[in-house]
Symmetry: C2
Subunit: 133 residues, 2 copies
């Protein structure tokens, strides 16, 4: 039994082949839209329903097994939950990357300045990656 099986069960999710494949795809690709996910899944499960993709994505979101990443000008993508991080997106090639940044200074500033208790900071940096300049 691989580790995703157990991880899914720990989140009260049955480890179905479809689900394991979704998790596997997200792990391999890093970030995927619903469409992209359906496209790769249909290759493995020729009769998979789009509803199954949606249902599973929503369930996994509720169980914080995965996270939604909202991007300017693009559709949302989904990724496995991991250490808190930010994202870069290349406006030329569309490549999305994780990047771990220390946002403590900013978070602290806002907390004290505005009396706003921050629980989460979502940062997306848009631009041009080194391969596209």
């Amino acid at each position: 039994m691989n580790n995703y099986t157990q991880m899914l069960r720990n989140h009260n999710l049955k480890a179905t082949p479809q689900r394991l494949a979704i998790v596997d795809m997200l792990y391999m690709h890093g970030h995927m839209s619903i469409d992209a996910l359906y496209e790769v899944m249909i290759k493995k499960f020729s009769s998979i329903s789009l509803a199954t993709i949606y249902k599973n994505i929503n369930l996994m979101l509720e169980n914080t097994f995965i996270q939604e990443v909202k991007l300017p000008n693009y559709k949302s993508v989904y990724e496995l939950t991991k250490e808190s991080h930010s994202h870069t997106i290349c406006e030329k090639c569309g490549k999305i990357n994780d990047i771990i940044l220390d946002l403590n200074a900013i978070v602290n500033t806002v907390s004290t300045l505005k009396n706003f208790e921050i629980s989460k900071a979502d940062l997306v940096l848009s631009g041009v990656c080194k391969n596209c300049v």
Copy 2:
């Protein structure tokens, strides 16, 4: 002729009453979803079509007269284009606020570290505002 009339024309948009009202609503409310906008607009223009809202929002986006703000767990909201800024959103009351933060340190770090030319930084801070603690 008020200033929005001229501003719309500068963006090659005819200054129709509906458009002026949309701009006015965005100015007054700061951030509005499509639904919220339609709700207030129907009060002024009892026969306005939802399509008109969508068409205008999309046109104004293309002309960068307004900006879309994508928020975790919420629908997108729209705001008049102004000086670059970040957002806070209260998880209790849903209130969205603008906040001007200096992200230069972070932007520079990423630029040099990852060779990524940043053109835009979208930051949303989720948490609890001072009124909701």
